[in-house]
Symmetry: C2
Subunit: 561 residues, 2 copies
């Protein structure tokens, strides 16, 4: 075979990865990478850190760990990859195996033997009047971050339109710069694509406590200027701001591929097989522009993330260079950090799974990420979701200042292998007091869902308890915490307070306080003692009782102090 010519369109994440891998697999190939922007191979996930001032310059985001800047020269010198920046591919001619591109007004024609499309994604432009005015920003490319960072010192109040991952990361970065930040999310709750409402409300309460204002269920319709500031309008909310950041998500950039006859999948992204091959011979795709198989549903999904782009880029690069590799798919893992809280999810959400026809049940547990006697420990709430019919683990979500990503990564791994609850609950995870509890919260949560499935545990969620308390037949709330805990803060309702250790001897007080047939909800700090109390009440003939999942710690609606 003659020298293999590999052309790659797109130079942010998947493209450079594919180029580097192709070079290692085929040292003799001729590899050309086209990027329409000025920069290549930059860590766009680091833009919020640049904004927050945690990263001094954009150069760091496009350097190797050894400090070498990944520019055109770097790619030529170290990898013999020809990188053409400022070069926009305008047409793919699959019959003649050519790419036509424009560079400084000049048209280039590049023949290829193998083509990799890595055109990424573009920001969604929401239907908001007044997007194109001074003081309104996006955050997709490095230039956006530079523009936004340059005005931070002049602003005092910021509104972030969109409460998804990027929106929250931007909000966090702006708050770190001491701006007053309001996040305005159109959906019912924050991170609607990531979290179920229960964990989203918990995160929302922590954001508020950290000083970030949160508005949900309000699609912004217009941004106007007046009285020296911007006014952000939604149906039932209006806010003033010195600067507005719009982060309403992205869509796959598929125009070039579609015009060349490359099949677009049901998700709107480029359809690929496990080899990252498109419907057109010798044309591959990788990264945000293409879809993936969802390993839980078996269907196609589009989840644009740098980690997936990297893996797909490697697979496309291998196959384009004559090797063989196969990308099995994703399970929907995503993580972020906001307001000193870690947020993570994998698999399907409970509501999402139900919509898809699974008989989804969930359990949420609040607990510590290390032994309570170890000096450095922090709490988190972890929720797992399974199919009640076969016990198959479907998803997990976690929020808290404690370590959550390890737990989600473990569950993501188990989900990728189609694990059942019974099996995952006994995983041999690393234990030392600095890293967890002897029965890690991850396993404890799985056990609690097993308890629920077996009928031993009957949790009630904060939202449901709140609704019940203002309904016609409120339950009797039995707080089983210590006196100190009870006096420090408690639910904003009347409650009977009996510490768990006294409950067996004071059951008569419970009987006396309970109206005939009234349900009892046991409440503790994080859920463990509440469950114990539920079992105790059941055995004493005061059941079927329930307990508040996650306890007072995870109550997102404000406490009496």
């Amino acid at each position: 075979m003659a020298v293999r010519r590999i052309v790659i369109i797109g130079g942010v994440a998947a493209g450079p990865k594919a180029a580097a891998r192709a070079r290692r697999v085929d040292p003799g190939a001729e590899i050309t990478l086209l990027e329409k922007g000025r920069l290549v191979s930059y860590g766009s996930c680091g833009l919020p850190f640049f904004l927050a001032g945690l990263v001094d310059s954009l150069t760091g985001l496009r350097s190797t760990p050894a400090g070498v800047v990944r520019d055109e020269e770097f790619f030529w010198r170290e990898k013999r990859v020809r990188v053409l920046t400022g070069t926009e591919a305008e047409e793919i001619d699959p019959r003649r195996r050519l790419v036509r591109a424009r560079r400084n007004g000049e048209v280039l024609t590049l023949p290829y033997d193998r083509l990799i499309i890595a055109t990424g994604s573009v920001p969604l432009r929401p239907a908001i009047d007044g997007l194109d005015q001074e003081g309104v920003f996006g955050l997709h490319r490095p230039g956006d971050a530079e523009a936004l960072r340059s005005v931070l010192a002049r602003g005092r109040r910021a509104v972030v339109v969109g409460g998804g991952m990027i929106g929250l990361e931007v909000a966090d970065a702006l708050a770190a710069r001491r701006l007053q930040v309001t996040v305005c999310e159109a959906g019912r709750h924050l991170l609607p694509g990531l979290l179920d409402e229960d964990l989203a409300r918990l995160l929302e309460s922590r954001l508020r406590a950290a000083g970030v204002k949160v508005v949900t269920g309000q699609p912004v319709t217009a941004i106007t200027r007046g009285d020296g500031c911007l006014r952000v309008r939604a149906p039932d909310w209006e806010g003033e701001a010195d600067l507005v950041v719009v982060a309403c998500g992205v869509k796959p950039e598929v125009g070039l591929a579609a015009r060349a006859g490359v099949e677009i999948g049901p998700t709107g992204a480029i359809a690929v097989d496990g080899r990252q091959a498109t419907s057109v011979e010798d044309v591959f795709a990788a990264g945000d522009c293409c879809e993936s198989t969802h390993l839980v549903t078996g269907g196609k999904t589009w989840l644009p993330l740098a980690s997936t782009a990297s893996k797909q880029g490697r697979v496309a690069g291998t196959n384009a260079a004559g090797g063989e590799d196969w990308f099995p798919g994703v399970v929907g893992t995503a993580v972020l950090q906001v307001a000193e809280h870690n947020v993570a999810r994998t698999g399907l959400g409970e509501e999402e799974a139900r919509r898809m026809g699974y008989e989804a049940i969930g359990a949420m547990v609040a607990g510590l990420d290390a032994a309570h006697y170890y000096p450095d420990h922090a709490p988190l709430a972890l929720k797992v979701v399974a199919d009640a019919r076969d016990g198959r683990l479907l998803g997990a979500q976690a929020v808290g200042p404690g370590e959550v990503v390890k737990r989600i990564d473990v569950l993501a791994t188990a989900i990728a292998f189609g694990a059942t609850l019974d099996r995952v609950a006994h995983l041999d995870l690393g234990y030392a007091p600095a890293f967890g509890t002897a029965l890690d919260i991850c396993l404890h949560t799985l056990n609690q869902l097993r308890n629920r499935r077996q009928g031993l545990a009957r949790p009630v969620r904060a939202a449901e308890l709140k609704a019940l308390l203002s309904g016609p037949r409120p339950p009797l709330v039995l707080d089983v915490r210590t006196r100190e805990e009870y006096e420090a803060r408690r639910l904003p309702c009347s409650a009977l307070h009996i510490p768990l250790g006294e409950l067996r001897d004071r059951l008569e007080e419970v009987r006396a306080a309970r109206a005939p047939g009234q349900e009892i909800v046991a409440v503790c700090e994080m859920g463990v003692r509440g469950f114990e109390a539920q079992r105790l009440l059941d055995a004493a003939g005061l059941g079927p009782a329930r307990y508040l999942e996650g306890g007072v710690w995870a109550w997102p609606y404000g406490l009496r102090t």
Copy 2:
């Protein structure tokens, strides 16, 4: 059925867990727990923290997170479990379903319907003269820790006999108390049951750098007193100390069970099935006294750990109380912290796997636990081991100041599900710059082993390179790092220095420096550029070259600075 009488022998980890679980499953059962010591339900894994002064009192180790001490009264009050401390079970009569125990000289006879043996482990007593003298300590029970802590202020030099998990944790605690610490290990290297020699040597070099002396291959034979101090003698080493801690491992405490006719397995621990049932009807066992199935080999193993004890205790408690649960087994995960390094392993070691007949191959990668531009990142070395025949993942080990436990937990999960390298390398792990790199080091390491298996990567280990360098045909060492890196520190040998970015243009220099047929070993900081250079040299006709696995960072034998 009448009230179910459950008797549990042993009150440290598995016993209390079994009791608590049995109570939740059967609220009406009569549950009695016997413990020969004074204390129950203490976190013995926290004893090194108590020693180091990170935990103020032993009370913290036996309290609930809410601060309630788990004593006899607690178990009765909160769980209606009758705990008898200072009560030693002396005989089990399985025919009559009785346990005979002694409490303050008095003999108790306890009838049972279900019995759970959770007698734990006892320290191994090595063949060392002079063990029973002042200044020589163990660390197994809380009393040991109290005794040792009380003399710390009087000592200046300590020798720890045994470089296993407990030995290193003790050494770390004593070093934190500013003692001069020497660890003396009988085996070839530290943590012989946990790590392969390569990672053990890396850890050893880091311990030395932190001021801990390490002696390996020296079984201590005698401890004598003279000149106001203790002398610790081994065949080719002798040390002076003010105090000596002996931590030479533990063995299962099975005497009581064996005398009752309970089958002891090939590991020397009590044989149990997946229900934690022993060979004797209605007698269960859990925790350090019993063995487990190893999910990699399918055989039996004995790995006494609090995490396993907790899971087994829960399963035994469930089954004893009339429920149903099943413990599938372990994969050999273990983690510890020492000298601000995290150490973890799971599955089989490379040497161990080879001894067992697997065609084990490994790859080690050094890298960062978070994006290099994220302010808070740290390095680690991760090694994965697979069977070359079918690509099945067999084990993993990691050492470093960076986050290692998450990676090992993920791999432990994959191993538990029998995963192959190809599948695990594409796992959908959570990525954000604070938590990893877009292609996490975990996946990168798996890919590097795939590269090796495919013949793309040819790593050489530090130990082998060291041996080659002093052998008859030393390789040409080609250092491809930047000038700054090279000048800061380098391998203690002659080397040709050409930064990777200049290598393509300076290949003639390499040709000139290389003797006919001489092998070239490319060296970089952590291994990535070395591998790139290897591929480049191969393509230039200068191969087959190799690269130093883990680079200069993981070189454990001292560097030239």
